[in-house]
């Protein structure tokens, strides 16, 4: 079954309401036109979605299950808790859904090289994996700050054969890596596809990425009917750029009784300036940057603020235009979770259910844990576990203040000095 859903398709020019569009240097005009055409053709080819789902099941490990969580349900004392397990994908996150799809597109278009930006490193690892699998050359741009925080992912990207470029401009995080990719692409487009990692950037990227990530929602809807016997009352997903959220939400957009909740990074708190909450709390404003119109965290003169989150993958200034639109129309509610709440939720998920969500995903858990006690046992909630947490071991061990881990690191380091 092809992922064709009018309710989340953009209008003319790639607009979702007033958000979206394509604001890029003229040099990229024909490139984006070529991509739009290739994507439209692929989508109308009934075999394409089939090739995609085959690759996803034979290589990436789909379908991922929906897991019932009886202990958390007992502990929270409200709605029944279910978790969609995107952490079980090859490379450990939902990123692979998008990357494999765009890889197939690159092949169809005859490109021999891919480039990508990455924040947490998950999208970079997924892209490097795809490039290795499909035989494409691969360059990954990553902010210098993120290279330092997520070095294990850098290691894996390099082992997979990708070139990793540390971006030294701006605040050296995800947004700067996106700018660097757009610049590379402006020179390399004849043989290169930019594999954008989330539902942001110029049209058609938000549409392409939503299309591939919609596999999460399609699966999840059917699985909830099967496993829980009903549609969820609420669906929770964390929102960096918004791809895992868009992916799971699209499955339920036409089910008005299912409430959709996007959870942004509250960082150190909404009043500290150290967060990435664009929609929750109303600090974001409409603007145009990085190729599209959306809600950004910016000052009155349109300069982007620095953002912050304990989860590198949520640390972004913009948000997918589809989500900005669904927020404006009231279809999706936005909340935020602070670093402290997130670490506490991670601890609960590990101790009570043996789940190890990524710090990003733990934002969705945190918001759900806050709200589940107020729901009734007839209700069900579905949390999207977008990725697994082992990549975060350094950050988590720090946040939990684990002394034995520190001692282990000291011993390892001493071993190298000797």
């Amino acid at each position: 079954m092809a992922a064709e859903h009018a309710s989340w398709e953009p209008g003319p020019g790639g607009y979702y309401g007033e958000f979206g569009g394509s604001f890029v240097p003229e040099i990229l005009h024909e490139t984006l036109a070529e991509l739009r055409e290739a994507f439209d053709e692929a989508r109308q080819d009934p075999a394409f979605w089939g090739t995609y789902t085959d690759l996803m099941s034979g290589y990436a490990g789909r379908p991922t299950p929906v897991t019932h969580c009886p202990s958390l349900t007992r502990l929270l004392g409200g709605a029944k808790v279910y978790v969609k397990r995107e952490d079980l994908n090859h490379t450990g996150a939902h990123k692979v859904n998008n990357v494999m799809g765009q890889g197939l597109l690159a092949q169809r278009m005859g490109k021999r090289r891919v480039i990508a930006e990455t924040g947490a490193g998950q999208h970079g690892v997924a892209t490097a994996t795809m490039a290795a699998r499909l035989g494409l050359a691969c360059t990954i741009y990553m902010g210098e700050e993120d290279v330092a925080r997520q070095y294990p992912n850098v290691f894996w990207m390099r082992q997979l054969g990708a070139e990793v470029v540390a971006v030294k401009e701006g605040n050296r995080t995800l947004k700067d890596a996106i700018n660097a990719c757009l610049r590379d692409w402006a020179e390399s487009m004849h043989d290169t596809l930019y594999v954008l990692g989330t539902v942001c950037g110029p049209h058609p990227f938000p549409q392409i990425v939503t299309y591939f990530q919609s596999i999460i929602g399609q699966e999840a809807r059917g699985q909830m009917l099967e496993v829980a016997g009903q549609l969820p009352s609420r669906v929770y997903a964390c929102v960096g750029g918004g791809s895992n959220a868009s992916g799971i939400f699209t499955g339920f957009l036409d089910d008005p009784a299912t409430e959709l909740i996007g959870v942004e990074a509250g960082g150190r708190g909404p009043d500290t300036g150290l967060h990435a909450s664009r929609l929750a709390g109303g600090q974001g404003t409409s603007g145009v940057a990085q190729g599209y119109r959306t809600v950004f965290l910016q000052n009155e003169e349109g300069l982007m603020h620095d953002t912050y989150s304990v989860a590198a993958g949520l640390d972004y200034i913009g948000i997918g235009p589809l989500l900005a639109h669904l927020h404006q129309t009231g279809r999706v509610r936005f909340e935020s979770a602070t670093d402290d709440e997130v670490v506490e939720s991670l601890r609960l998920a590990m101790r009570h259910e043996g789940l190890v969500p990524a710090l990003e995903s733990a934002h969705a858990f945190a918001a759900a844990f806050r709200e589940v006690p107020d729901l009734s046992p007839q209700d069900t909630v579905l949390i999207n576990q977008s990725g697994r947490g082992d990549k975060d071991i350094f950050t988590v061990a720090d946040a939990l203040g684990d002394e034995e881990w520190r001692e282990f690191l000291r011993q390892r380091a001493a071993g190298y000095d000797a």
Binding site: G13, G21, S22, F23, V24, P25, E26, I27, H29, E30, T31, E169, G170, K175, N179, L182, R183, A186, E187, M189, S286, G287, V288, A289, Q290, G291, Q298, E300, E301, G302, L303, M304
Partner: protein, 240 residues
């Protein structure tokens, strides 16, 4: 046409650069308003944008400098910057500010012509030129489309990519400029990687305006005013 990022390396340096341009007989100057996400710029202008912002250059400093240039110098200035700055000011206020600083128009590289409707209408009412950009990757049909919006002059990007890298002016440029010429009757300006009097000589006959960006700022940074003045003189001598 020459270029500077307002606030980089400093507002004082900008003023000295403008005076030097005026003395050398440069006729058009692009004044770039710094933005935090300059996606059409190469590494040295990216750095310039960020450093200008860090040292506190905002709209006020920008329009003060433009106003002072209009009052004291013989140059024509042009706004260059990113669309978000325009969006936040609002089209009407943006155009009024430009008109007040007697600027001749604007180049906004991340605003495609099909999105320019409202802004272009306000601009025309104040006799400001929305300068369009043509690139070597544009199809003939796209060049025609851009040509329909052309006003003042067209900025022809001499190669693919972002600002700052060297361009081999000989390679395929003539063909491209020929296609631009078919698509519009306004003068053609050529920029991206134009750095030397030789580059300018090579454009003679196929373009009306040579646009020197990154190279000028580099000369200023490396040699200061003493190197900048003769550099500008050598460019202007070739251009006239």
């Amino acid at each position: 046409m020459t270029h500077l990022v307002v606030g980089y390396p400093s507002l004082d340096a900008n003023w000295s650069m403008l005076q030097a341009m005026d003395r050398a007989g440069v006729d058009l100057v692009e004044l770039q308003l710094p933005f935090s996400e300059p996606i059409a710029d190469g590494p040295s202008f990216v750095r310039a944008n960020h450093e200008a912002i860090r040292s506190g250059t905002g709209w006020r400093e920008y329009f003060d400098l433009a106003g002072r240039a209009a009052a004291e110098l013989d140059l024509t200035t042009l706004f260059m910057g990113y669309y978000n700055s325009v969006v936040q000011m609002g089209a009407a206020q943006f155009c009024e500010q430009l008109a007040k600083g007697r600027m001749s128009g604007f180049i906004v590289p991340d605003l495609p012509p099909e999105e320019g409707g409202e802004l272009y209408a306000v601009a025309r009412s104040l006799e400001l030129d929305p300068v369009q950009i043509m690139t070597p990757t544009n199809s003939r049909a796209r060049l025609q489309e851009i040509g329909r919006h052309a006003s003042g002059f067209v900025y022809c990007a001499a190669r693919t990519g972002v600002t700052g890298r060297q361009t081999d002016v000989s390679q395929g440029l003539g063909d491209f400029l020929g296609r631009c010429r078919e698509a519009t009757s306004v003068p053609l300006g050529v920029g991206f990687g134009i750095r030397t009097p030789d580059d300018i000589r090579a454009l003679r006959g196929s373009a009306e305006i040579a646009i020197v960006g990154t190279a000028g700022t580099e000369v200023w940074l490396e040699q200061g005013l003493t190197g900048y003045e003769p550099y500008l003189d050598s460019l202007v001598a070739e251009a006239t």
